[in-house]
């Protein structure tokens, strides 16, 4: 087990690389979930305009 984590003496480089990958992915997942929650909150407390979004849609093609 210790041999595995030692990575033949390259432990610092290997685990800094893999560790950053895990850290960034976890942070992105947390951030994007928080953004979804904020967006649902915003949508809940927005005045509803029947038929479309609040923004101008006149030039919309689809």
């Amino acid at each position: 087990m210790g041999e595995f984590f030692a990575m033949g003496g390259y432990a610092f480089f290997i685990w800094m690389a893999y560790g950053m990958a895990v850290l960034l992915i976890v942070l992105e997942i947390v951030a994007v979930r928080a953004r979804c929650k904020r967006a649902r909150h915003l949508a809940k407390h927005s005045d509803v305009h029947e038929g479309g979004a609040a923004g101008a849609q006149l030039k919309e093609t689809v």
Partner: protein, 245 residues
């Protein structure tokens, strides 16, 4: 126009919601297999010993950083040419994940460069053009945040993304055009200069990164659709919006 059915944000919102769990689960399974191969099953490299194992993060991240940029620029072009809102939202959704992949490619590259080349960083063509890619992603994100009107932000970001796409072939061919520090491609059509099990682990990790990117950009796209469609009747009728406090 049945082919454009899912081009409308309202339809795509629910479709994306159904797609996310599949891509997320696939990404997780492939990541576990890829990590097991990359860190344990694959033998050590003759010249680089265990340090080469960074390849299983570095190459997928670097490929995704370029691929996501092209996809983002494609949706930007669609948004400009067809004036479709969903295309612009897709481009908007990809930028942060693209920036993450680029940062990860640079970080892991530096950590691989030190034990193999003796330096964390050099102003080599491949590394410099990848750094420019990071600045392009960050510039596009900053540009959007600087413009209040979303439709104007869509146009500005699409133009910047399209101008910046010229950087992608420069990154890709840099190792052939300039003979500097970064090595040439390990995997070419028809032959790879690495062992089969190493190649298998690498491809599994590439697919894991790919499916992760799809899953996370679809989740972000759903958030963007809600942000920009807030006030629409269909959004107000969504169960998850009604249940939100």
């Amino acid at each position: 126009m049945s082919g454009f059915k899912y081009a409308a944000p309202a339809q795509f919102y629910s479709l994306a919601g159904k797609m996310v769990p599949w891509f997320a689960v696939l990404a997780a399974i492939l990541a576990v297999i890829g990590l097991a191969i990359g860190l344990y099953v694959a033998p050590i490299d003759v010249t680089q010993k265990d340090s080469y194992r960074i390849i299983f993060i570095h190459v997928p991240a670097a490929w995704m950083s370029m691929f996501l940029y092209v996809v983002m620029a494609f949706w930007g072009a669609m948004a400009l040419g067809l004036n479709t809102r969903l295309s612009a939202m897709m481009a908007q959704s990809i930028a942060p994940t693209g920036a993450l992949m680029t940062a990860l490619a640079l970080w892991t590259g530096a950590l691989w460069g030190k034990p193999t080349w003796g330096t964390y960083w050099a102003w080599d063509a491949r590394m410099t053009s990848e750094l420019i890619l990071l600045f392009l992603y960050l510039g596009i994100i900053a540009l959007r945040n600087a413009i209040d009107d979303p439709r104007r932000a869509d146009k500005a970001c699409s133009v910047l993304a399209l101008v910046g796409v010229v950087n992608v072939p420069i990154i890709y061919y840099s190792v052939n055009w300039w003979n500097t520090l970064h090595q040439g491609a390990t995997i070419k059509m028809g032959k790879a200069s690495i062992d089969d099990i190493m190649l298998a682990g690498l491809l599994v990790m590439v697919f894991a990164f790919w499916f992760y990117s799809i899953a996370v950009t679809l989740v972000r796209l759903r958030a963007i659709i809600l942000e920009r469609e807030a006030g629409a009747a269909w959004v107000a009728r969504l169960a998850e919006v009604k249940e939100e406090r």
